[in-house]
Symmetry: C2
Subunit: 373 residues, 2 copies
C-alpha cells in the first residue's frame, strides 16, 4: 500500500451532517439491510452463553469483502464498536487502503445484541426485550470462531482489529485463540475494561432506564424513549471527545456549522433511531469485558498468552479508554508496539472526521500487515 | 503563615465515608443550620435579576470568621461551588492556614439557589419550585456586593477566591468591581464557561429532568427523584475526577474500602439529600457564566479590566474546567500567575482527599496574600 494512495482516500462513509439515518432510520426501519447491508447470516442451533442461558438459533449477521484464497490464509476479522454495525467500519476497507479486498478476505461480524445479529429487539419468545440474557464478549468471540472455522474453514487470521468494543473483541480473540491470530490491532480499547469506562456505561444505562417510558425494557416503541436516547447521546458527546475538540471548535472542520448542528445532527442523529434494549445489551457486555476471565482473573497471564504481533493504538486524548490504561496493557504483551493516535476527537477519532486520523490509522495497519510473523 | 503549620493541618471537614449527611440529611432536614450553619441573613427587599424578574425579599445566607478591623481592610470573600454551601469551604479557614481568622475577616456567602439563600425549594408564592427564575452569576455578585458594601461598609477585599462555580464568582467580582478586588484566586474554574463544561451541565440537568417523577419541577418530595439524583451523582463521579484516580484506585487513600463504598458513600451520599430544583438552578447559572457579558461579549476586554493580582489555579487533570482553558484566560489577565494543582482527583482535588492537594492550595493562597498590591 502506498501512503500517497491513503492520503487521497476520502473517508466518505463516516457519519456526516444530514445523513439519511434521521429520515429513514427511526424505529423499526433502522435495523435493515437497506441501511446496514448487504449481510449474510450464520446460524448456531443452540448457543450456550457464558452466563448460562442458551439462545436457540443464534444468528450472527456479517459482511465480507474480497475473496478467501485457496490456502485460506488471507483472512482479516474486523468486529465493530458499541452502537455500531458491520457497515460502520467499511470506511477502512477499500482498494489502496491497508484493508485491501483485492488482497485480503475481510470479515465484518455483527455483535450479538447490535440489532442485526440476534438482539433483544429482534428475538421473539421468552428472551425478547427486557428478558434478553446478559451477553459477554467471550460469547461473541466463540460465535465468531465458529463462523470463521465452520463456515469458512479458516485456521489463521492475518489480522484481527477493532475499535472500542471492537478492541475488546480483538483482545479476546488474541487471548482465547492465540494460535489463530497472527496480528492484532486493538484501537481505542483495552483488554480489561477500565473502571472509568464502566462508570460511563453505568451513566449510559441510567440514561435509558431512567426514561419514564422504559418500563423495565418492555416499551412498545423505541421512539417513546427518545428523551433517554437523547440524554445517552449527549453523555457520549461529552465523554467520546476531548477538551481540545470543544475549546478549538475542531468540529467545524468536519462540516458542522454550529454547536447545535453538531449536537443534533451528529450525536442525536446517531443514537436516536436505535433500540434501547439493544444498546443496553452491548453496554453491559462492554462494561464486563475482561480477558482475565480466561486465566482466573490474572490479566498479565492472559495477555502473556497473546502470540500475535500487536499494535496497541489508543487515542491520545481518549476519556473512555485512557492512553495510560492502554499503555499498561501494551507492556504486558510480549510482541507489542505502542502507537498512540494524535487526534482532537478523543475516542471518536476512529471515524476520521479529521482525515489525518484516518490516514494515521490506515498507515499503521499497513505497516502491521507488512510485518513478518 | 508557615508552611510547616499548613502541612500539619488535617482537612478534617472534607466529605468522608459515613458522614452524617446520609442519616440526618434526607429531604427537608438537609437545608438547615444544624448541618450548614450557623448562618446570618442579609435581605434585599426587591432584587431585579439580570434576566428581568424581581425576587422580593431575596435572602443571602452567609457565615463569617474573624473580625472586621476598624480600617475595614482585612476582608476576604470566599463563595462556594455547585451543590455546595458556605460550610463546605470552611476547611480552608483556620488559625495557621492562609485564611486565618485571627488576621482576616472572612465572609462565606451562599449562592442564590443553593438551598440556604433564596432558592426554588424554600421560596413560596409564584416563584417556587419549577417557577423559579433563571439566576446568573452576576445576580449573586451584585447581591454579594450589596452585602459587603451596605452591611459591612467594606470598600476593598484583600482576596476573593473560590472553587468551580466559586471561581466563576471570583472572576465576576474581579471584572465587575475591579477597584475593590486586590487579589483573586480562581481555583478549578473559568471566567467564561467552557463548552465542554456546559455539556456536563446539560447531562446533569437531563439526569434530573428525565426522572419519571420530575413533573416539570413540581414534585412533592425530593426523595421521589432519587433515581435522577443518583444518576446525577454518578455522572459527577465520572467527570469530577480523573482517569488516574480510577486506574490507580487513589480513592483508597481517602479511606474508601471498595468501589461501591466510594460510589455510594461519597458520591450518592453527597447528592441524594439535595433538592433537584435547587441543583437545576445552580446548574443553569454555571452553564451560562461568562464575564464577557460585562463587555459586550469580549472576553479579552473583560479580563483586561481585572486589577487584582490573580493566581489562576486549575487542577492539572480536571475534565470539567480543563487546564488549557484556564491557561488561555490566565494569559489575558495582566497581573496573573498560573499555578496548576497536581492531583489525581481532577476537579474534586479541592476537598483535599489527598492532603497534599490541600497543602498545595493553602500554600499558594498564603503566597498570594503575602504579595504586595
Amino acid at each position: 500500500m502506498s501512503n500517497d494512495d491513503a492520503r487521497d482516500h476520502e473517508p466518505a462513509d463516516a457519519p456526516s451532517p444530514g445523513a439519511s439515518q434521521t429520515i429513514s432510520g427511526i424505529g423499526s426501519d433502522y435495523y435493515t439491510e437497506e441501511i446496514h447491508g448487504p449481510l449474510e447470516y450464520f446460524t448456531i442451533d443452540a448457543f450456550e452463553l457464558a452466563e448460562g442461558e442458551t439462545i436457540r438459533e443464534l444468528e450472527i449477521a456479517y459482511a465480507t469483502f474480497g475473496e478467501l484464497n485457496d490456502a485460506k490464509d488471507n483472512a482479516i476479522l474486523f468486529p465493530h464498536m458499541y452502537s455500531g454495525t458491520s457497515k460502520d467500519m467499511e470506511m477502512y476497507v477499500g482498494e489502496g487502503l491497508a484493508l485491501d479486498p483485492s488482497e485480503y478476505f475481510i470479515i465484518l461480524p455483527n455483535q450479538i445484541g447490535n440489532g442485526l445479529s440476534t438482539s433483544p429487539h429482534n428475538v421473539g419468545g421468552p428472551m425478547g426485550q427486557g428478558d434478553f440474557p446478559d451477553i459477554r464478549i467471550s460469547d461473541d468471540i466463540r460465535a465468531q470462531h465458529r463462523l470463521v472455522t465452520e463456515k469458512f474453514r479458516i485456521e489463521e487470521l492475518q489480522l484481527v482489529l477493532g475499535w472500542s468494543m471492537g478492541a475488546q473483541q480483538t483482545y479476546e480473540w488474541a487471548v482465547r485463540y492465540p494460535e489463530m491470530v497472527r496480528r492484532a490491532a486493538p484501537i481505542g480499547g483495552t483488554a480489561r475494561n477500565p473502571v472509568l469506562s464502566g462508570l460511563l456505561v453505568d451513566a449510559l444505562i441510567m440514561a435509558l432506564e431512567t426514561d419514564p417510558n422504559w418500563d423495565d425494557g418492555y416499551y412498545e416503541n423505541q421512539r417513546d424513549l427518545r428523551r433517554g436516547l437523547r440524554h445517552h447521546a449527549r453523555i457520549w458527546a461529552l465523554m467520546g471527545t476531548s477538551a481540545e475538540l470543544w475549546r478549538e471548535e475542531s468540529w467545524r472542520d468536519a462540516g458542522f456549522s454550529s454547536l447545535d448542528d453538531f449536537l443534533f445532527n451528529l450525536w442525536d442523529n446517531w443514537f436516536l433511531p436505535m433500540d434501547p434494549n439493544d444498546l443496553r445489551c452491548m453496554a453491559w457486555k462492554w462494561k464486563h469485558a475482561d480477558v482475565g476471565r480466561i486465566t482466573d482473573g490474572d490479566l498479565a497471564a492472559a495477555l502473556d498468552r497473546i502470540e500475535a504481533k500487536t499494535y496497541v493504538m489508543p487515542f491520545e486524548k481518549d476519556y473512555v479508554f485512557p492512553v495510560a490504561d492502554c499503555q499498561r496493557e501494551a507492556e504486558m504483551i510480549s510482541d507489542s508496539e505502542f502507537h498512540p493516535i494524535p487526534s482532537p476527537w478523543g475516542h471518536f477519532g476512529m471515524f476520521g472526521f479529521d482525515p489525518s486520523d484516518f490516514e494515521f490509522i490506515d498507515e499503521r495497519l499497513g505497516e502491521l500487515l507488512a510485518e513478518p510473523v
